[in-house]
């Protein structure tokens, strides 16, 4: 176990630890561009130079292994001068694009310039090297080679994380620039991570482009509901509008976030969000829609069935279970979802596209009910006359519903979600607008927090169920999401 002294503080680290990570453990920040904790070490940006006693020259902290008795200084005049000069080199050919660059505000060059340099440029703007600007690369990214500092984080990401190796540094020395290999498009499922790890504004997101300045964004911790992996996310929003979703790196699940997961916010803000109920194909207000749905359920109280959903939170599934058990007093309900789970592509995307199968099973453990097979057999045989379900879960019973001819009452967020042949559709608030608990494929319980307010009249699902139950006879007294969990 080598003992290393950094700025007078001594620390024992595991063998193979670099000076940079050792400094991080001591709370000493060493500036870096090319170093990324989840990528291989490149050591090309020279920003992390530190002074090591008895070494003839300054050493790059990111690639120097800690050795026993090593004494490192990170704040001497020599180190400060090195940082200032490295920054000057990086900025010689960097264009004055800050006013039109989306990275401004979270840019490594801006931050370190303010921290370590503050020097005036000694080079004329007219002499800067020119490169291709604003190049669309793939479905999600724009590349500006003029802003690039050639840290190669993007190249290493593509070759080490996605293993697709689309990117490469072309040419040599002063002529080098980042480009896709010939005939390759940058269209892997994780391409937007490149915009995150790019320390400057060379890679920016096409989706977020010019939408909002980053310093206006508020950040709320969230959970991705794109699949059963349940990555932790950070939702960036301002004035009730969500602008982008970023990964919240954690040791359990994810460092990165996939592109489909980042685009998940779009459905919640889409133009076809339901604000009213739908009966057959016509929009009507929520209250009459609820009354209509309730009277259809009352017609067949015994033959009504409730299907839980792996797309809904634990609370909302619990509310559905209470609706079946205490409201309808039927035995026909199922919260039994056991799809195949596991990482599909070796990075993040799960085989199970629903985020909360484990949560639905938790409700099943408490509330019992039929197995999914038993319920689908009952639906197919026509024994069930009315089925209450969430839209995507109802999609799992498409064939059976056609065969059995049961009336379908669904809860949906968007108009495009409504399955064909649904009799009544009731809107509910998305999990960007209401809190919910989800259990991912590892069994980790994660809670979303609301970032935006739901449209007027759109309520969380447990509240919609509470009202539906009040109209069809027995009130469940659901005042909050926590009430739904009572008795489950």
């Amino acid at each position: 176990m080598p003992k290393i002294t950094i700025d007078g503080k001594t620390l024992e680290v595991a063998k193979g630890t670099t000076v940079l990570t050792a400094a991080q453990q001591l709370g000493v920040h060493i500036p870096r561009y090319c170093y990324h904790p989840k990528l291989s070490i490149s050591g090309n940006c020279r920003m992390c130079l530190v002074e090591v006693e008895k070494a003839p020259k300054l050493m790059t902290a990111c690639s120097t292994e800690a050795a026993d008795g090593m004494v490192v200084h990170t704040a001497t005049d020599k180190v400060k001068a090195a940082r200032r000069d490295v920054l000057e080199f990086l900025l010689i050919n960097h264009p004055l694009d800050c006013p039109i660059c989306d990275q401004a505000g979270e840019c490594g060059l801006q931050d370190y310039y303010m921290d370590y340099s503050r020097a005036k440029s000694r080079f004329a703007q007219a002499d800067k090297v020119r490169r291709e600007k604003r190049r669309v690369m793939g479905p999600h990214l724009v590349l500006d080679n003029e802003r690039c500092i050639l840290c190669t984080r993007c190249v290493r990401f593509c070759s080490e994380v996605t293993k697709t190796s689309e990117l490469e540094v072309m040419e040599r020395a002063d002529h080098s620039f980042i480009d896709a290999k010939e005939g390759r498009a940058l269209d892997n499922d994780y391409s937007l991570n490149i915009a995150d790890i790019c320390p400057v504004g060379a890679w920016t997101s096409r989706d977020f482009r010019f939408k909002q300045r980053v310093w206006f964004l508020k950040k709320t911790p969230g959970v991705c509901l794109g699949c059963a992996t349940g990555c932790l996310t950070e939702i960036h929003h301002n004035e009730g509008v969500i602008y982008r979703i970023m990964p919240r790196p954690n040791a359990d699940t994810n460092t990165w976030l996939c592109d489909p997961g980042r685009m998940a916010y779009k459905a919640a803000q889409a133009g076809d969000r339901l604000k009213k109920g739908v009966i057959k194909n016509g929009l009507i207000d929520l209250e009459p829609a609820l009354r209509e749905a309730a009277s259809r359920i009352d017609e067949h109280h015994e033959a009504a069935a409730v299907l839980g959903s792996p797309w809904l939170s634990v609370e909302d599934n619990a509310a559905l279970a209470r609706f079946a058990k205490d409201g309808l007093k039927t035995k026909n309900y199922s919260f039994d979802f056991d799809p195949e789970q596991g990482i599909k592509d070796g990075i993040l995307i799960n085989k199970d596209p629903a985020p909360n199968a484990a949560g639905a099973r938790k409700v099943k453990a408490a509330a019992g009910g039929l197995s999914f097979k038993e319920l689908s057999a009952k639906v197919a045989s026509g024994e069930i006359k009315v089925l209450v379900a969430e839209a995507r879960a109802a999609g799992l019973l498409k064939e059976e519903l056609k065969a059995g001819g049961a009336r379908l009452i669904v809860f949906a967020m968007n108009r495009s979600e409504i399955p064909a042949g649904a009799y009544a559709t009731l809107p509910y608030a998305s999990y960007f607008e209401t809190p919910g608990t989800f259990i991912n494929f590892q069994g980790l319980e994660r809670r979303t927090e609301p970032t935006a307010a739901a449209a007027e009249g759109v309520k969380p699902l447990w509240a919609v169920i509470g009202k539906l139950s009040a109209y069809s006879g027995g009130s469940l007294r659901l005042e909050s999401a926590q009430d739904a969990l009572k008795g489950i």
Partner: protein, 186 residues
Amino acid sequence: MISVKKVDNRPLNFLERIYLPEIVRGLLVTSRHFFVNLFNPKGMPTVQYPEQKLPLPHAAKERTRHRLKLRADGTPKCVACFMCQTACPAYCIRIEAAEYPDNPVEKSPAVFDIDLSRCVMCGMCVEACPEDAIAMDTLEIPGGALSRAQLKLTKEDLLMTLPGDPSDKGAANRLANEHMKSRGEA
């Protein structure tokens, strides 16, 4: 330290207490002004604003109604960087950015509203602008409108060229000039 000023509140004397002589003295002052101005109207210091205006002293010229400057090709110099909106202490600027399909400047304002009913005329937006795109040199002093809507200036109201333009200062100017040159406009 709070400075204290002692005031000598001397009690009123008898003539002042009976009030009438003081009223007459006051009326004399008023009527003197009345007759002097009646027979010598040119000596009046009053200016009939807004028909008449005094030339503004040097610094005040830079704190009049805003305008957005134009480039030589007629596009706004503004690149919608949101610096003015960020600096504005009164939250009176609202910008929405748009993208040029061909111009290498890339970014331009689709919406640029200034709510003059909120503006405190502090000039922070002019100081914050990295493009020399916004200025407060129109010499118009805003105020006096019949509705709030009249005090809201849109991009079209704000775009204005004054003598001395187009200015070639600003960070994005290199790209703009090259674009104009490539199209043979400058």
